[in-house]
Subunit: 549 residues, 2 copies
């Protein structure tokens, strides 16, 4: 109490920076806390920006959670907007600041410095890019919204990641003719392709034109030219091809940064200078496997900001490896993932086991159940969960959050069967979809049923047997498949005895029963994981996509 | 394969029994599996029954998930309904069965016997009880629904547990004038009283009359007489005062049963006779603290049935302690709990720490957020989570499932802050409500803020300070509280210096900032946990309720 007050300077006044500032004040009423923000606003809801485009959030002011005045009144913070830090003198422990309004340059000393500069939109060095609209700040939003109001109907959104999708949806809801362009072969690259096609279908169902697998080469005031020469009419171009960590200041100050960008920090979020912390998008973190990763998500920024405040106040903290968990609403669907997808796991040289399921959000006999498409990626030997993905209706977010919790807690794929989840007909089934993932994973781990994936059907040397009912088979089946309904398998066993078979049903469950039955009766049988639904989704995956395996 | 097929007899063909039977068939095509069910139906959706009363589930046949015929065709099960097992000859390993249709008695041998007889409704020995309708089976449902159609408008539901509430809601939705009678001082006894009053309010808002704290003494064709002499008009009485484990058969066979009822089993779900298993409501389980408990919920029955099949097939299984997780829809609200409530923890002689929060289901600036009321019960020293409760709108089920997963995984209250949950504005906040529970619990564990509970305000010797804005204060406050808005605390410090204070705000968050600020400035300050909202809910708790502490 009688010490000289601690002098803390924070660079960046959104998410991580503001989380650190307010927590610091609650821990230490005497500290001097200065927040320097280059932009015009602090503590705004950047994740909410896309929704003001369609007026889903009608009131722009609601996106401003705090002002410098309100932060001064409540937390006695010295918040200065349009103040840019241009240099750090680590020796003298002071920063050089430019007041962008007055042009004045001054110097501020610090005891502890917290860097929370965020990420900057990637602007490819192509003709016309300055004509396109990024969406990171409120002024960005104002410009994009004004353009949407005054210009013609054709909008092109470049980039189909989470933010690109949200922008596309909200421009569409605002009445635009929207074309979504993605250089990767699929929308929503955090998902594996057979789940991403479900998202693409939803976009198209709502009138968004999706062009994937091709980049753009130029933007003009009326058009976007694609790398393959196609020209799209465009009264408006929104650009969301990704972000890069804002590490310039750290780099210039000689702090350790990664070659691909991003400030390196330890478990206490300290940079290579222990008096300088870094949080949020600019700082690299560790993923669920302990690898250094760039995870520009709000959850981590807020968590890290708080932990830095705790550490400065002398508390023990540790920010370990976390599965990245992301989610987006895409019209009537929810798309979400936690941890690593199959592609990422394979890129690490690992061969994961995979399970697809298609449960209803709740008991089928209670009205309003919506399908959820789930994918679990795990190690078949140890049960270690690498990650999970979900696309579907209500309750999709719940299943991903339960899976993120299980993954974070170190539970195995088998343990998912054991989770005591809440059941009543409006909410779930007596075996929750997450429990079912665990049951199916167990069967794979035990070798009880050998499975094949959707991309392994073509070229199989097995007799393909559709065990659904004739009416289901008639509505569409895998080419070459013969139809022997599950209930007839025992009586028609002679037809199947002679050769190895691959059985499938709609979602994989009857196929499992069929494969078990046949195996017990001496037939060499495997089951198609995820059934006809996963195969059908996989068939819609562009062929130029590298198939796993 | 060349062994004599295993001969398995299962007593009871719903949930646990049927889960065991179908899994067994998938594991062993050759076993002889006989399911003996006393009732008229097997594998029906007993959790769905109440919803047919209001035609929320219009089609009764949808509640029949399987018939003996469909189970024979798919799983080659020998399913016999209206077959009652009346005795077990453990020595000879055979059961005596009565075919209720023909009256014939015969004997069936078994290698392994699985008891899944379920639970029976408790029928208090009071006059007129046979006139009341229980709701456990489809015939029960048919009788109750027929009576609801033909009789007058006044319905009395006795018992306000999960099933009683569902019956009350659905009779109300069917147009009845419903009175709900509960002998305990509150509805929904699995919840602590300050959360239960929120459920009661929702019932009353939808026109259900709630009478708690008084039992009934008699039922006639026109009325229910309460223990206090009041007479309620009743054209129809539904009885849901609880269930008891069906352990008669096990008891007569000399198997170990608990004094209070329920079959005792080991971690492999074997009774004291290793060739006889017991699953579902009839079997006692271990709760999150490892204590033997009666948990009549569908989740456990299904889980146990599967594990028994695995064990009989020679696999390693273990059913350990699980937090009981339960949920119910109550009109527009969801009420749910996992693990133990405060009352149960105190009954064990422990003194738990308690945290109440009132977050929105998602970011406040995105439309449609609904309040959720959360309570976390934990050990302040170790962080061990005893249980959690939630009452609120959308997303309530998600938070309970995440908490159940964390509790099952052995995470501490502090660990909740660290869960990497999915965030986008339509789904959550950057600090999810479960993360916030963790943050608040941390502050309690660290001693950063000392808190008081809603029932500790009356009789406090502290100055009570309302730190909300004047407009909030004007709409209602704690009697005797002075209003000093949080932002004015620093300038009005002199008013507060002289005595210990208790601060509060609407939900506890500004109160925490205020308590921190005052403590840092040398004032003896404590914060009211859960703020005005929890205090207000607590004030509605009937005074005859024993207050914790």
């Amino acid at each position: 109490m009688n010490h000289v007050p601690l002098n803390i300077v924070i660079v960046g006044g959104v998410a991580g920076g503001m989380s650190a500032a307010t927590r610091l004040r609650r821990l230490d009423e005497h500290a001097r806390i200065t927040v320097l923000e280059r932009g015009e606003h602090v503590s705004f809801a950047n994740c909410g920006l896309p929704y003001h485009l369609s007026d889903a959030i009608p009131d722009r002011e609601r996106l401003l959670l705090h002002t410098p005045e309100s932060l001064a009144a409540r937390f006695r913070l010295d918040v200065r907007t349009r103040h840019e830090v241009t240099a750090i003198d680590r020796e003298a422990r002071r920063v050089t600041v430019t007041d962008q309004r007055s042009g004045q340059v001054h110097v501020l000393p610090y005891d502890k410095l917290i860097l929370s500069p965020g990420a900057a939109p990637i602007l490819p060095p192509l003709p016309g890019v300055p004509l396109a609209f990024p969406l990171r700040t409120l002024p960005d939003l104002d410009r994009l919204k004004a353009a949407a109001k005054t210009r013609g109907p054709n909008a092109v959104v470049i980039g189909a990641g989470f933010i690109g999708l949200e922008v596309a949806e909200n421009l569409r809801e605002a009445g635009k003719a929207v074309t979504l362009v993605e250089a990767a072969p699929q929308v929503l690259p955090p998902l594996d392709p057979e789940l991403a096609v479900l998202v693409q279908r939803e976009l198209e169902r709502h009138g968004v034109t999706v062009i994937s697998g091709v980049g753009f080469s130029a933007i003009t005031e009326q058009s976007v030219t694609l790398a393959d020469g196609r020209v799209l009419p465009a009264d408006l171009v929104a650009l969301a091809v990704g972000v890069r960590p804002e590490d310039t200041l750290a780099r210039q100050a000689g702090l350790d940064v990664a070659g691909r960008g991003g400030i390196l920090v330890n478990g206490q979020l300290q940079t290579s200078d222990p008096d300088i912390y870094a949080v949020g998008d600019a700082a690299l973190v560790r993923d669920a496997l302990g690898n250094v990763a760039f995870v520009p998500l709000a959850w981590g920024a807020n968590r890290q900001g708080r932990l830095v405040a705790d550490h400065i106040a002398g508390r023990d903290v540790s920010f370990g490896g976390h599965p990245a968990t992301a989610i987006a609403k895409v019209f009537g669907l929810t798309a979400a993932s936690t941890g690593l997808n199959e592609r990422q796991v394979r890129a690490l040289g690992l061969t994961p086991a995979v399970v697809h399921t298609h449960p209803g959000s709740h008991a089928g006999y209670y009205p309003g159940a919506e399908p959820i498409h789930l994918k679990l990626v795990f190690d078949a030997r140890t049960g270690r969960i690498y990650g999970a993905q979900a696309v579907g209706g209500q309750g999709t977010d719940k299943r991903i959050d339960v899976l993120a919790t299980a993954l974070h807690a170190g539970l195995s794929a088998e343990d998912l069967a054991d989770l005591p989840l809440a059941y009543a007909p409006p909410y779930s089934s007596a075996k929750d979809p997450v429990n079912m993932l665990g049951y199916v994973a167990q069967n794979v781990m035990d070798g009880l049923t050998r499975t094949r994936q959707w991309h392994e059907v073509a070229g199989t040397h097995r007799l393909v047997v559709d065990v659904r009912e004739p009416a289901e088979y008639a509505r569409g089946s895998i080419p070459g498949a013969v139809n022997v309904p599950l209930n007839d398998l025992r009586s028609r066993l002679d037809e199947l005895r002679e050769q190895p078979v691959l059985v499938y049903c709609q979602v994989g469950q009857r196929g499992h029963a069929a494969a078990r039955l046949l195996t017990e009766l001496g037939v060499d049988a495997v089951n198609l994981d995820g059934g006809f639904l996963t195969w059908q989704a996989g068939r819609a995956v562009p062929t130029r996509l590298p198939v796993p395996g």
